[in-house]
Symmetry: C2
Subunit: 473 residues, 2 copies
Amino acid sequence: MNEKLSRAEFLQTLAGIVSPAHVLPDSDAIAGNLKEPRGLYNGRALALVRPGSTADVAKVVAACAASRVALVPQGGNTGLVGGQTPDASGEEIILSLQRMRRIREIDPLTDTMTLEAGVTLAEAQAAAEGADRLFPLSLASEGACTIGGNLSTNAGGVAVIAYGNAREMATGLEVVLADGRIVNALSKLRKDNTGYDLKDLFIGAEGTLGIITAAALKLFARPRSRVAAFVGLASPSRALELLRLARDAMGQGVVSFELIPRIALDFVLRHVNATRDPLAERQDWYVLIEAASQVATGLEDAMTAFLAEAHERDLIEDAAIAATLEQRADFWRLRESISDVQKQEGGSIKHDVSVPLGAVPEFLAEATAAVERFLPGARVVAFGHLGDGNIHFNVSQPIGADKAAFLARWEAMNELVHDIVARYAGSFSAEHGIGQLKRDLLARAKDPAALDVMRKIKAALDPLGIMNPGKVL
Amino acid sequence: MNEKLSRAEFLQTLAGIVSPAHVLPDSDAIAGNLKEPRGLYNGRALALVRPGSTADVAKVVAACAASRVALVPQGGNTGLVGGQTPDASGEEIILSLQRMRRIREIDPLTDTMTLEAGVTLAEAQAAAEGADRLFPLSLASEGACTIGGNLSTNAGGVAVIAYGNAREMATGLEVVLADGRIVNALSKLRKDNTGYDLKDLFIGAEGTLGIITAAALKLFARPRSRVAAFVGLASPSRALELLRLARDAMGQGVVSFELIPRIALDFVLRHVNATRDPLAERQDWYVLIEAASQVATGLEDAMTAFLAEAHERDLIEDAAIAATLEQRADFWRLRESISDVQKQEGGSIKHDVSVPLGAVPEFLAEATAAVERFLPGARVVAFGHLGDGNIHFNVSQPIGADKAAFLARWEAMNELVHDIVARYAGSFSAEHGIGQLKRDLLARAKDPAALDVMRKIKAALDPLGIMNPGKVL
């Protein structure tokens, strides 16, 4: 901190902006905001500050700039790489966007809605539904995560193949810069070629270049019909052929295409009540496919015909189509429970990776073999968004092994897997971002010229280094 | 130019890199490269330089940096805002990408292709088709414009509502920076959250931040069926309701939705041979709708049912469905000829604008009335990509008026129209970019904080100011 103001004076300045009730000093009351959900990081903070408007965010940032106080923007605190967690110094403030939860506008004619950063994803989905439209971003933490966080991390989720990441859903942003100025760019336009694409620079920058305070988001027609199928098949390469066939048959109607290995299904059936195997016999691999259509009828027939053709081509072993909404929810519960149940099987070392779609089968075979050689008994649980080439390549500890000893291999296992990812020209962070967790990895693995461009942009937009320092770069 | 090298020595250096045959000094041989297609700008150049590889582009840029020589990247020279045209000083070089036309890879399993910047859009489409895939970017100049230019200007075209602008089609880029370093980021990944989104920063930057030398582009399933309809209706607001209905009925299957006023159809019928009015009676407005589907049959029925419902709701007056490929081509010829035939009606003052979709009808009414008040007899020809809110708001001179006198009102007319666009929170360059033509406008109209961020980025990435100076900023 700059010596001009004492800590107490600085906090008083903040209280003058947002009122004393919204400046919470480090204490048990904000303990939940100081640590990230998996407990990997546990920081300290000068205070948690909760501005209620963009103007107040701007004033808080200006005050931080004047006093050289670093700030850590925070939404729903659901991020998995520590991007929302302050460091251990106790000198940073957490700038929470959670009071900024106004739905500023829904424009059904333009098919956009304008929301403040603290609106949760579930609230955003509900707001769209209230206008008989669809906001298709969907992820496991949607009840808690916020639009600001979704955009700052360019969240992915289970409908990316049809609708894109969070980035593709924003037409405009309102951003507070490192000097407290406000970029008013809440454009609702589908096409606008007036200068550099700043929107996409702030999206995914994890609060290191500016703070997203509001966004204009696209709305879509609500599908009139949806159908889900749970398919058993022999291998990821068959799954890839099946994806191609599904796209040729149903085009952009294929909304989700999720790969699940048998071991993941075993975990879920073992640990989650009232779940059952949708297929009669055990299969090595599964795919959960969901399709959607604007046409009220015929989709189930299309899915049935597609699966029949897949069967004829020997791509699949068996398949079940969800006949009811309840059955569809059951299928999704099997998929959505995987991350959680891994905790009950002991330690788990995670990799959120992507490789070019065509390389997924080879990558899976090579990385699995390497992990099993590296740590005999380790159980690879590789699942996820096959349609995007995004695999959550998680490794559960050997049965009966010591958890701490297993987790001590985290870095070495990461290095092993990420080296293979790199050989396939893949990404070591497909959807979770960099935060603190992968900062060193980014510095090592990113193209040097690209890294240098990133650093130049960071220095140009945040010369004092107060915007979420120690994250990303 | 830096005094260290004489002009001759500098040109010799370049000849040493790309061979003397590919360093063409200013002469008639390069006259076509010195002026932009509408003749608005006509520059001079030290030379036209044609590197044949990324390594050679890098060396040329490094040589320019060392000698402080500015460079103007050029692809197919089809841009409409002078972004590809050198200034009048004769001190800049044109760096043509036209020798870089290798198709480096087509990866049908990953659904990507990797092309060099000088590949024309038509060649790119053909390459995709050769692999039984679709590359959906499509615009009038596709025979000449290049992928590098398409990306540098974030080209739009007639399929944006279904597939997005050029930006949405790129998964990765190779870029030569202002100091001659190469960013190797030809990623084929659909998801990659490792750091700032540099790809989208270089896309649309019009060569002012770096030179795109190659790109990895998405491929799509080729539709099994297509159907086009030419619809007559009373007003743009009916057209907007029709768009909503089309999306509810056919979702992302609606590929094009183009608005055409009667006057544009009149121009085309008058000046283009072998064209005919697709509908029996005159209508005030038309929409050309194209839909595509992965299902081989049923699309025409869906279009027919949709039009019947539209008729029942009194949204449309009449409609014709293209029964043959030839008829479909005829419909499109009516649409694609509009820009060209305007030349035959005398001077034309152009505005490439967008407004929020819901505001299009009001904007059209207000801007048309304002133009007619401003210049009685002026003929508004407002047409274009209604589905994107992108209107080519062109104004043809009054019948019999003096062309030069009319064109002398260009700036005043622009100001009038752009002021109205601004009141609707629209864009004064929806798809053509900034170049030289709208540089002053950008400086006046852009959000000041956003403009400052752009300038900081430019200064950080091109500190010597050699990358296409005088364009955009």
